[in-house]
Symmetry: C2
Subunit: 545 residues, 2 copies
């Protein structure tokens, strides 16, 4: 679909949700146009498999499976596939794009169609875990990348229509033609795509090897997620979420420096906001850009403001910041509507899905207090930079009030811990967010985080997303050694377990951890885990020595 | 692929098999060109389902299953398919072509890909019999028309790439998107194709209803099989076999009168013959027309000669007959090379697959004798019509010799039966073929057929292909009443059991009969069963009164 058609279809959507009270009246269409104009072109590269591999069940490998090199793709290409029956190819690295394979008649001719099952996987265990029967409690079965196809002719290239994110593909012959006939799979190719472009940064020469590897894996993770939007994961959900975008933009600053993509995403969220101006949490591009209706995440909407400030700092693009500043104000106003007279963010009002981490049982009261204060601080900073403090003159007082309330109701001076919710839950996220928001002093924050880490029953982070905020909090609290160790243990742990892109979910104590009840559903290349790239470059003295 | 490219690729094949002794040297390329030029254009018609149906297991229905109308397609189109889950659509008649369906977002938006299984079937039982696990002894699994697809976007038409032959389609949702989201399958369409064109004949006004219905079903069968070649069955094998072509050309004479297709097929076989001039039994069109190497059926090669004579009679196209007469001579010479000094066709020399019928255990010695004599007679007739008897002056003596040998060694005067092979097997095919070849007089033939039909252990025909020759033999032996009854019982039996196209295999005593060990593999629309169209028009006095 051309830009023109996309714009006009998206404009119809805009028209449909534009009510009288729309705070962005008359602006959405131009914002959508700017989003489309900023869309970077996809770069395509051709990739080929590097080896055929055999599966080894091995309790010592991540999730219990690994692959061993078996032979070359060229050896496969010469074989009668009726003798091969099934083969797994390793492309040597994670790729996003479109898969094709070629068949060749070797002797006689095709006397029946051929049926193949192709299973694409990011991880060895994913390829070795049966998908069916599928439990209804899980996310959709169709996220799994297996396809069954029938060829009624050979000697041509066959393209799998859906976009694939994978490193390994297993090709199984399910239906075979008759005797006295043979054919080969004599070619396999993959057109990989990304809008990332070239890496424009470099590490210090004496940067330690593990940090260098962590950075490389982070860069690859980001590259794969940089499509025509910042996707969360190219396998799943293949879409633009505010939370991921915020972190991807951080890593992009210190790698590809492709700020047009950030601009596009900021505008997309604004143009497609709810009729009252509140941002949807995620956006789907096809068939025309549209929000995932009904999905609001207040902490994400607030972090969008931080991303806008960062974008202004990174690019100096004042026009965009001016355009979108009103949107930032709406997000703050929406967030504040859930803050009570007592100065506390009231999660009981259930303003939306309050996503802080996937860890089950996490109480988010204290974290939300931190996010709200942090957003107020950053939005006020944005206003100052635009000379528009007068529009948000009440923010400093609100920050003070909420800080006081947090210290009074959430911070337990005696233990030095932040306690969240009616159950007075101790979690790493609570300590981290009130440190990030400067509710705690650096010394208090460091003590809180250290105490919590040692605290029995402390709710630990479950995702690299949450880990980012812990690391960020540590750095704000002067915990340089612990921040470095955390990166080496957590992201370095993934690298040591074989990651060539960083995972959506990772619990060092539980390889099978999944927020979705089924490990193969986890995305093994997930944007929100790429932030070591930012930390390593933003704090070279801490990480690159 | 354009004609030019096809020709040049096919020419390469021709070059590859053209040896010094090629009897068609210098001719193959021009024959191939004539075949391409004679190719009729496909006519396309749009079809839509007529009803949604529910499955009923019913011992009284053919193969134990039938469908009952449930609702309208329009009712389906408005429903949330997540509530529907699975649906079967009836298109009201057999169709060949390409299937598409459309999805529509009803509320919210797609938050995960959707996975469907589509199963296309010609017959109710086919749709209700599990295909897997698949036995290796059967024909290829991929003949079954089930496809699994994943949609990563909705609100567009999706086309199944393979060509389909079906009346019913079952659509099952295997992977569902999340809650709070709904979509419909709001459109289903089918582009049907055939080269047949319009029916150019009509039945007598007082033609009995059953005969009229048999004729209609035969015409539909032929229409579906008339693609860019005379296919055997549009579901399976989707290709040009001599045996099917011969019978289709008979029916075409009295229905569509599309003789260009016959011309194309005659030339294709000739151009792509073995290097010594012997015809392959079948031809596959994709990616360029080529024979199924290694598949020779001597009786088919001999019947090609009969088809050439018929073509000349039907069209007066002397140029084609002159062109291809040398090919006819080669087939006779090849057949005669298996005839011994005693004047008997010697099946022990195993010249090829000697296909007469699919019925297991059939001894083909006597039938082959009949086919050989019949081909000699018809080829001599062709020579006479072309004024080229001198080229085949030995045929009449050979016919006499083989006739005498057959009467001496194969015909048992006492019982009045033809006995075939060392086991002196009694089969309907042996009686029929020696009647067709006039080895038996009409009176002898009638007695032989009648006696065999009553003979315990007589090997009965297993396919409509074999039944055609029985019916033809009956008519040559003056068995008019029995011929009519045979048609009414056999083809009429299929009609009464619900056929809207005639089946590849049909045993009135055994609904589950299959030559392939799996009933759903049977083709339910098979060219070789369409010959009632020819009988009904060729013998109006017998069938239309």
């Amino acid at each position: 679909m051309g830009l023109k058609l996309k714009l006009s279809a998206a404009a119809m959507f805009v028209a449909a949700v534009t009510f009288a009270q729309d705070p962005y009246e008359g602006l959405r269409e131009s914002w959508l146009k700017k989003a489309e104009e900023a869309k970077p072109a996809l770069n395509y590269t051709e990739a080929a498999p590097v080896a055929t591999v055999r599966t080894v069940q091995d309790a010592g490998s991540f999730q219990g499976w690994r692959f061993e090199e078996e032979g070359t793709p060229e050896a496969l290409y010469g074989k009668n596939f009726k003798d091969v029956g099934s083969v797994t190819l390793d492309f040597g690295k994670h790729l996003v794009g479109y898969f094709q394979f070629h068949t060749k008649t070797l002797s006689n001719c095709m006397d029946a169609p051929v049926r193949f099952k192709l299973t694409f996987a990011e991880m060895p265990a994913e390829l070795n875990t049966p998908f069916d029967p599928w439990s209804k409690d899980r996310l959709g079965r169709a996220w799994m990348q297996d396809e069954t196809i029938t060829l009624t002719r050979l000697d041509e290239w066959v393209r799998i229509p859906r976009r694939i994110a994978f490193r390994y593909v297993k090709i199984e012959m399910l239906g075979w033609p008759g005797a006295g006939y043979s054919f080969a799979i004599d070619g396999v190719r993959f057109t990989a795509q990304s809008t990332a472009g070239e890496v424009k940064t470099s590490l210090e020469q004496d940067c330690p090897d593990l940090i260098r590897r962590i950075n490389d894996v982070g860069v690859e993770t980001l590259r794969e997620c940089m499509q025509t939007v910042y996707e969360d994961g190219p396998k799943r959900d293949q879409r633009l979420w505010i939370g991921d975008m915020y972190l991807e933009a951080l890593a992009n600053k210190h790698s590809f420096k492709n700020f047009a993509l950030t601009k596009r995403c900021l505008y997309l969220f604004a143009a497609l906001a709810r009729e009252d101006g509140v941002l949807f949490a995620d956006i789907i591009e096809d068939p025309v850009p549209h929000p995932q209706y009904g999905t609001y995440i207040t902490p994400y909407a607030l972090l969008w403001n931080v991303a806008l400030l960062d974008y202004l700092d990174d690019t100096g693009d004042r026009e965009t910041a001016e355009d979108l500043f009103p949107v930032a104000k709406v997000q703050i106003a929406e967030g504040l509507s859930f803050v009570g007279e007592d100065g506390l963010f009231d999660v009981a009002k259930k303003p939306s899905w309050l996503f802080i981490d996937h860890r089950a049982g996490l109480d988010v009261s204290a974290s939300m207090q931190g996010v709200m204060v942090f957003a107020l601080q950053k939005t006020y900073e944005l206003a100052r930079k635009l000379g528009r403090e007068n529009e948000v003159h009440e923010y400093p007082a609100l920050i003070k009030k909420m800080t006081r309330a947090a210290r009074k109701y959430l911070y337990d001076k005696k233990s030095g811990l932040v306690l969240s919710g009616p159950g007075k839950q101790v979690s790493i996220m609570s300590q981290s967010w009130l440190s990030i928001a400067s509710v705690l002093s650096p010394a208090e924050g460091a003590k809180a985080i250290r105490t919590a880490l040692d605290h029995e029953g402390c709710v630990m982070p479950g995702t690299p997303y949450a880990m980012h905020y812990l690391l960020y909090a540590m750095l704000r609290c002067g915990m340089e050694t612990e921040a470095r160790r955390t990166m080496e243990d957590y992201w370095g742990g993934m690298v040591k377990k074989g990651a060539d892109t960083f995972w959506e979910a990772y619990d060092p104590e539980d390889d099978m951890y999944s927020p979705y009840g089924f490990t193969p559903l986890n995305s093994a290349c997930h944007a929100w885990s790429c932030t070591p790239v930012w930390f390593i470059h933003e704090y070279p003295g801490i990480f690159q020595k």
